[in-house]
């Protein structure tokens, strides 16, 4: 049984695409090509990667010894917030603070709790009457029960209650894929291609890999939370030494129709690149994160130079010391929110102290893919070398949409 995964990879390598392997090629193949890439080369590269993804299964994404967190669906949302915060702060950060939800009554996984849920709660809280009393309860001990909710109702504001409320919200707002009732999941033997397509088509970031044993257990076994980052890591590992078989890897990224770029004169750009200044309010940032359906916004100064980024997952840093209960979103600036985030997880960030990743427009696609394959990195910001101006963003889903020729 355990030979399954290994023999798959060995058979795929013997039947994989034609790879032109020049015996003694000088370093020319390592150079980044700045020429416009031909359609034929794009086609070859897509086919090669597509074949690789179809022949490898999700089992390869599983780490040798992995850990996953699951939450029971009747937990209060507030506690879930704190649990995910602890996950993010720990030195072993697996990236996105997402947890699948288990319903012990039905014995099934019914959904996933992600930073977007917290953003929606915090945004809706001042407006709605649902959760503010519950959150307030943590800092106001007995105090003013100005809420018109009874104690019993407070206790029921669990994750399951939130998910139902979200259904109603999503009918008002147009949220991609948020009206799903079923858990989107995958099995350990699904091919990587199916996995990537599921993630892209449902506009989600992580997908739980669940093994359901129909005959033996009543509980499905949660194996892993897969994301595009893991799949990209597999691709990079396989192709980083055979760049000749995937010619597009050596192309500079500005020659490839990939990512969201600051629109230049003469070019029509469908997606505008959202940017914010640090003195703008946090509520504006959260609104933009939800409505523009982006997961991160670059923060620039007055000269359009990149300072930092604010991502959806940064909302978790508000759980430290229960800051979310004390602040008002429209009175907090992004700058303060970034400081809170930096205080919350001081162990993060690379050697330079940066929590975001940048690249140049002349970098090769392989280099950008390697950056995106790092756990926890979901987008790379393209900056101009000297001035640090923001030129564009390439995210994981951008890369995969390009590889699958999806719009």
């Amino acid at each position: 049984m355990s030979t399954g995964a290994i023999s798959t990879s060995s058979s795929s390598s013997s039947t994989s695409n034609i790879a032109i392997v020049p015996p003694m090629l000088p370093d020319a193949s390592l150079q980044v090509s700045n020429l416009r890439i031909s359609e034929a080369d794009i086609g070859i590269s897509r086919d090669c990667i597509s074949e690789f993804l179809s022949t490898h299964s999700a089992y390869e994404l599983l780490p040798d010894s992995g850990k996953v967190i699951a939450l029971e669906v009747s937990l209060p949302v507030k506690q879930a917030f704190h649990i995910l915060y602890e996950q993010v702060v720990s030195p072993v950060d697996m990236g996105i603070p997402v947890a699948p939800l288990l319903d012990t009554c039905s014995g099934e996984f019914v959904g996933v709790l992600s930073p977007l849920d917290f953003i929606l709660i915090l945004k809706e809280v001042p407006n709605g009457t649902l959760f503010w009393p519950m959150l307030k309860k943590s800092c106001i001990q007995l105090g003013n029960r100005g809420s018109n909710l009874t104690e019993e109702e407070l206790e029921t504001h669990t994750i399951s209650a939130w998910k139902e409320a979200k259904q109603q919200l999503s009918s008002q707002m147009v949220l991609h894929g948020q009206s799903q009732r079923q858990l989107i999941h995958a099995g350990p033997y699904d091919s990587l291609k199916e996995l990537a397509l599921k993630i892209l088509q449902n506009h989600i970031t992580t997908i739980p890999i669940v093994r359901s044993l129909l005959q033996e257990d009543s509980f499905p076994h949660l194996l892993h939370l897969a994301s595009l980052s893991g799949i990209l890591r597999c691709i990079c590992r396989h192709f980083r030494h055979s760049t000749t078989s995937v010619p597009i890897l050596q192309q500079a990224i500005f020659t490839i129709p990939l990512g969201t770029w600051v629109s230049r004169i003469g070019e029509s750009n469908g997606n505008q690149l959202a940017k914010l200044k640090p003195n703008e309010s946090l509520s504006r940032a959260l609104t933009l994160l939800v409505q523009a359906e982006v997961s991160s916004i670059p923060i620039v100064d007055d000269n359009d130079r990149l300072l930092d980024t604010y991502s959806r997952s940064d909302i978790i840093s508000l759980a430290k010391d229960k800051v979310y209960a004390r602040i008002r979103l429209d009175e907090t600036s992004i700058y303060q929110a970034l400081q809170l985030r930096n205080n919350a997880s001081p162990s993060h960030g690379s050697v330079t102290g940066q929590r975001f990743h940048t690249c140049l427009r002349s970098d090769s696609l392989l280099k950008v893919m390697e950056q995106l394959a790092t756990p926890g990195v979901r987008r790379v910001i393209i900056v101009e070398a000297a001035t640090n101006h923001v030129e564009g963003i390439i995210s994981l889903s951008d890369v995969f949409r390009f590889l699958f020729s999806m719009p």
Partner: protein, 277 residues
């Protein structure tokens, strides 16, 4: 660690480039867990798990040699698992052994690890040529230059391009997937012959102290501070045991942890549940 430490087609076929003595296999068949191999009991020929070179011959893991007596003797050694783990490879090299058994005077190896830039000569001993290299985990292509001619080993995985040039392909893993079914001791023993006539525990039984937890069960990775290295492989003894977080009775939430094995990989699931009032 390599995935090809097993022996393939055992004694019959000698064309797979295996020229290692038998004793080297014992480093992998003793058992699947890492801790045992780093103990001194390993025979002197095998340099210990952290440096056992990979063999290319089979890419399919095969049942390692059975050495049933060793497995039980080393159970007690699991207690003193050494803290320093030399098996964190990440981007470091994994020792990989290339072997060419088809004769020739001067044999060199070149491959895609440095983009075919350099050729390395192999050490010769009689008809066999070997070379040990450190390669980071990944997929590589390689060829042999035998007396000026490019050749491949046809029995190993290879790919051929349009012009008919063939290269061998190697997938260097950084872990050894376990082939648990092959270890006979993992078969559950049959039930003992006596009858199960013990009555259900009554209240007075619950008033007594519970039996002491076996000390092996304290080896769980749950609750331990996370380190920067990838999680250590859990011991087999703690698999399929449910652990509960120690907490005060007034706490409204409790964490349950379970480690189970899925094929060759281990998954630790932590479930947070509200406690009922």
């Amino acid at each position: 660690m390599g995935n090809v430490n097993g022996r393939y087609e055992i004694e019959d076929d000698n064309s797979f480039g295996r020229s290692r003595p038998d004793a080297d296999d014992s480093s992998v068949d003793v058992c699947g867990t890492r801790s045992v191999d780093s103990v001194d009991e390993c025979p002197p020929e095998s340099p210990g798990r952290s440096r056992t070179p990979l063999m290319f011959a089979p890419q399919i893991p095969v049942p390692p040699l059975q050495s049933s007596d060793n497995l039980y003797n080393e159970h007690h050694l699991w207690m003193k698992e050494p803290d320093q783990s030399s098996e964190v490879y990440l981007e470091k090299g994994i020792p990989t052994l290339f072997t060419w058994n088809y004769g020739g005077n001067v044999v060199l190896v070149e491959g895609s690890w440095d983009n075919w830039a350099s050729r390395k000569p192999m050490q010769r001993s009689g008809k066999d040529h070997t070379l040990l290299m450190n390669l980071p985990s990944g997929v590589y292509q390689y060829k042999f230059l035998v007396d000026g001619q490019y050749k491949c080993i046809p029995d190993l995985p290879h790919i051929t391009d349009e012009m008919g040039n063939a290269t061998n392909v190697l997938d260097v893993h950084d872990y050894v997937p376990e082939n648990v079914e092959s270890i006979s001791e993992f078969n559950s023993p049959p039930s003992p012959g006596s009858s199960y006539s013990l009555s259900l525990p009554r209240d007075k039984d619950f008033a007594k102290e519970p039996p002491v937890v076996p000390s092996q069960l304290h080896l769980t990775t749950l609750g331990m501070p996370d380190t920067d290295e990838s999680s250590l492989k859990p011991q087999h003894v703690i698999l399929n045991h449910l652990f509960i977080e120690k907490c005060s009775p007034s706490q409204s939430m409790v964490a349950l942890g379970l480690t189970h094995r899925f094929q060759s990989k281990y998954v630790t699931v932590v479930l947070y549940k509200p406690t009922k009032r």
